[in-house]
Homo-oligomer: 244 residues x 2
C-alpha cells in the first residue's frame, strides 16, 4: 500500500489518574510495527493526575487584575500564571504564554474542556517527551510492537485563524525532517528546508479524533520516516526566534 | 471504513505554463465524491505561469541593501519585495513578509526550489482561492466527481522550528471548523474552539508528497466534513492579530 491510513482509536473509556494508557490502547486497537500512536494531551495529563480544582486555587492580585479585564475566573488565570514561564502577549484576559517547556500557546496549555469534572482544569504534562517515551516502552512491553508515540495539543498560530494540533511530546518518531543539501527534481539544492513532520502527523490525527466525540487517540500507519526525536526540538531556540 | 486514507498522486509530469492540472490529475488517479485533492502551490503557479527569471529582474537600491546583509541575490530580494505588502520581520537577508493575500511567510512565498529551470523563481498564485475553485470545477467536468481542492505551501511558524504545509487556496472544503457552543463528553461548553482543518489536511498531505520526490499532489479520502470555505478566511483579521 502506498500512502497513509489514519484510524481513530474508538471505545477508550474516560481516562482517570493512574490509568495505564498503553493497556487501554492495546485493548482497543491492534498495533503494527512502524505505527505512530497519537494521543491527545488531555488523556495523558488526566492519567498523570495533572488536574487541579478551581476551588483549591487562591488567586493572586495579578491574576485578579488580568481576569478582571474581561470577566474571566481569576482562579483559572492563577493556574495559567503558575504554568507560564513568561507572558508573550496579552489582550484583556486572553494570555499567550511561554510554558515551562518553552511552548508558546494560549493560557499556557491550561484548559477546562474535557476535564474529568466541572470546576476542574487540566494542565500540560510536566515532561511530555518523557511521557511519550514511557508510553512507547509500555506499548512495546504489552503489544510487542515498535510504535512511535506523539502527544498532541491544539495550539493557535500567529497570523492565522484557528488551531491545529501539534506535537508536545514525542518518542520513536522523527520530529524534524531536514532536507538541506538534498536536490529537487531539476537539481536545485534545497537550503534551510526543514519540515516539522511531527506537527503534520499531529494535525492529521486530529482530523479523526475530535474534541466533542471523546476520541483521544489515533493511529497513523504507513509513514516512511526513519529516526527518533523529541518534541522539545520543535521549540525555536530563543536566539533564532524573531517573534518571542 | 472509518478513518482517513492519504494517497500520493504519482506519475504526474513536470508542470509547465498552460498545463491543464485537472486533466493531468484525472489521468493519474481515480477520484471519488468527497475526496479532497491537495496540490502544492508550485504546481499551480507553474501552470499559471507565475515564474520569473532572475535575469529579467533589475534590483532596486533597497533590494541590494537587504541582500547585501548576508550575500543573497539582490534580484531574488527584489522579487520578494514585489510580492510583499509589508515586511513583518527581517534578520539580515531573511525576510518574513505579508503577501498581497495577507499570508505571513518567509520571502513572501517566492522560492527558487522546484522552479522549471535554474535561474528562475516561482511566485504564489495571484488568487489561490480562485485557482482552487477553477480546478474543482474542471475536475467535476472531467471526472464527474465532487472533489474539494486545497492549494498548499510550506510556511514557517513563530516559536516553532520547521515548516508545515498550510492551505493558501481552497474550494469545496471547509477551512475552519467552529465548535463554539458544542459540548465535550462531560457537558462542558466549548468556547472559541475553532479548528483550522484545511491546514491540518494540508500538513497531512505533505507527509506523502515530498519536495525531493517530484510528487506535487495527494488525495485525502474519508474526511467527514461538510461545507465550503476559502483559504482567505484563514488569515487572522488585523484587528484580532496580536502578532502582526
Amino acid at each position: 500500500m502506498t500512502g497513509l491510513r489514519i484510524v481513530p482509536v474508538e471505545g477508550l473509556p474516560e481516562i482517570a489518574e493512574g490509568d495505564d494508557l498503553a493497556a487501554l490502547v492495546t485493548a482497543a486497537i491492534e498495533l503494527a510495527d512502524g505505527d505512530v500512536l497519537v494521543v491527545a494531551q488531555k488523556a495523558v495529563s488526566k492519567a498523570e493526575g495533572r488536574v487541579v480544582a478551581l476551588d483549591e486555587i487562591d488567586p493572586s492580585a495579578t491574576a485578579q487584575e488580568i481576569a478582571g479585564a474581561d470577566g474571566r475566573d481569576p482562579r483559572q488565570v492563577e493556574a495559567i500564571l503558575g504554568e507560564a514561564r513568561r507572558i508573550v502577549r496579552r489582550r484583556g484576559g486572553l494570555v499567550i504564554a511561554e510554558t515551562r517547556h518553552g511552548f508558546v500557546c494560549a493560557s499556557a496549555g491550561v484548559d477546562a474542556s474535557n476535564a474529568p469534572a466541572p470546576g476542574q482544569l487540566v494542565l500540560l504534562p510536566l515532561d511530555p517527551d518523557t511521557s511519550a517515551r514511557r508510553l512507547r516502552e509500555r506499548l512495546r512491553e504489552l503489544a510487542g510492537r515498535d510504535v512511535g508515540v506523539l502527544i498532541t495539543d491544539s495550539f493557535g498560530r500567529a497570523w492565522r485563524q484557528g488551531t491545529t494540533d501539534v506535537a508536545i511530546g514525542a518518542a520513536g518518531v522523527p520530529v524534524l525532517l531536514d532536507l538541506t543539501g538534498e536536490r529537487d527534481p531539476v537539481g536545485y539544492e534545497l537550503h534551510a528546508t526543514v519540515i516539522a513532520v511531527a506537527d503534520e502527523i499531529a494535525g492529521a490525527a486530529e482530523l479523526v479524533m475530535g474534541k466533542t466525540r471523546g476520541i483521544p487517540a489515533a493511529v497513523v500507519r504507513g509513514l516512511d520516516l526513519q529516526g527518533d526525536g523529541a518534541a522539545n526540538d520543535l521549540v525555536m531556540p530563543r536566539e533564532r526566534d524573531l517573534f518571542r
